[in-house]
């Protein structure tokens, strides 16, 4: 029985060929801890690391691009609208469709996955950074100029630091979004937590892999978000200072 199934599914479900050595897998428990510990170092841990790398690259690139765009729009108001239009369109394209659209021209590789992931971060981080900069109080900008700061000094010493809470809020949303979307990217780039999830989806019976890999994606998102909150607190101690 097992052999027959294995033959039929062999190309799609590589692991399935091995007759299971775990009682809980044979019994098809929802969560099989033996299976997890057996596959941790070969499947789950590498997938988690790949997922983290995918996310870091996407968020970093997205951050650099969107911050640059936001800084230009901050100085040149007319620039905001075209950027918003383009990034909004990118943001609204269904991820599955975007991956399929990019694959023919860019190929089934990490670059394609990153292009798609980066495009989803732009709107969020662009809008947050620009809003943060625009919300710097006028009198603060006026005081900076009046005391003899040039435009660049004012930007680096006053405006960007004051926009930091909004900027990090954008980074947090973008990071969580990318961690979630990167699971879908496994369709075109065979890495990340999406790989065990897709494997599990193809396996109609045994769901431990789906639960564990999905749970790891959620855990990664929560951990990244928590870490960014700490970074934000460390960067903006003044934001919590209120009248004593």
């Amino acid at each position: 029985m097992t052999v027959l199934l294995a033959a039929a599914h062999a190309p799609v479900i590589p692991n399935f060929g091995n007759p299971s050595s775990f009682a809980c897998e044979r019994a098809n428990r929802l969560f099989c801890s033996d299976w997890v510990s057996h596959n941790w170092s070969t499947v789950l841990w590498p997938a988690l690391r790949q997922h983290l790398v995918l996310t870091l690259i996407a968020v970093s690139l997205g951050f650099v691009i969107s911050t640059t765009l936001a800084l230009i729009a901050y100085r040149r108001r007319w620039f905001e609208r075209p950027v918003l239009i383009v990034t909004s369109i990118l943001y609204t394209i269904p991820s599955l469709a975007l991956f399929e659209l990019l694959a023919p021209s860019l190929g089934l590789n990490r670059t394609t996955a990153e292009v798609a992931l980066v495009s989803y971060t732009l709107l969020i981080m662009f809008r947050n950074t620009l809003t943060g900069l625009r919300e710097v109080p006028d009198e603060v900008r006026d005081a900076a100029a009046g005391m003899g700061m040039g435009p660049l000094q004012s930007l680096l010493r006053v405006e960007l630091p004051l926009a930091l809470p909004a900027i990090t809020a954008g980074v947090r949303i973008a990071t969580v979004t990318v961690i979630s979307l990167a699971t879908v990217a496994a369709l075109i780039d065979n890495e990340g937590l999406g790989v065990p999830i897709l494997t599990a989806i193809s396996n109609e019976v045994f769901k431990t892999e789906l639960i564990v890999a999905g749970g790891m994606a959620v855990g990664l998102a929560l951990a990244a978000d928590g870490l960014l909150v700490l970074v934000q607190r460390w960067l903006t101690p003044w934001a919590r200072a209120r009248s004593a």
């Binding site: 100029a145 040039g150 009248s243």
Partner: protein
Amino acid sequence: MPIDNSAQQEGQSTYRQAAALELRDVSKRYTGQKEPALVDLSLSVGAGEVCVLVGPSGSGKTTAMRLINRMIPLSAGDILLGGRSVLEREPTELRREIGYVIQQIGLFPHLSVADNIATVPRLLGWDKARIAARVEELIELMGLDPEIGKRYPAQLSGGQRQRIGVARALAADPPLMLMDEPFGAIDPINRARLQDEFLRLQERVRKTVVFVTHDIDEAIKMGDRIAILRQGGRLAQYDTPAEILTNPTDDFVAEFVGADRALKRLGLSTLADVRLAPPNGATATDGGVTLDTTVRDALSKVLAAGGSPVTVLDHAGRPAGVVTLELLGGLLGNGALPR
């Protein structure tokens, strides 16, 4: 205790202390606006003087102030600071030499009080030790606890913020201070206290100050000279407070200073300036009137006493003389009051 401005000691500033300021036929027309904001304003402010620009809204007083440090560009005319045209100067460099205080103060919320005060010294590239010493000196000068240096602006009261704003403007020992309604957002009691504090401070630091306000009483209190501007940015009168109160040039000025200008005039002098009637020892009604009491307050006390004479005490608490209604009534007409 003399206030040693470290900038002066080290000869950093081009000015020894305060600098004279001169506006020559200064005009400003904002692009896209039909009416000019300021027309041919000429006035000179002596080194160490407080010049108050006062007028209704739309009189161009803030515009005039912001032209001086080139926060807005001049349309015509010239402005000389210490004899040198501000137009020859790099705007950022010029502004670092001019203290700047605005109504909303504009402290940097993300920087501690000490770092706020250190803004201009840092821009000027002072070394750490010198900045730290200067910050400490200024916090003390403002009568604040040195501990306040570690706090953030959000943790300060309105009055403390205002003092830090002034300290920040004084940090690099500028020869000129620009103050745009600096006490405008403070409640009346604290405003009076801050005004008194600033006058005491000014006695020590002797800066040239351009002070903008819409409040004529504040102008009279703070100014060595007052420039009254009318709508459309034209100068109505530029004179000492006493002269403006005694001889307003026209109806606009007379109306602007108020119907009580005679009383305001009395408020400019204290009983020390007045030749009192001799103390006859008889009625020492102690109304708390001393030589430091303003003539205006003395009149109020005399009226409160039903018009009967009130004894004036000297600094030792002994009767220095008596103030009477007749004596006060004669003061305004005969030019007996100084200033």
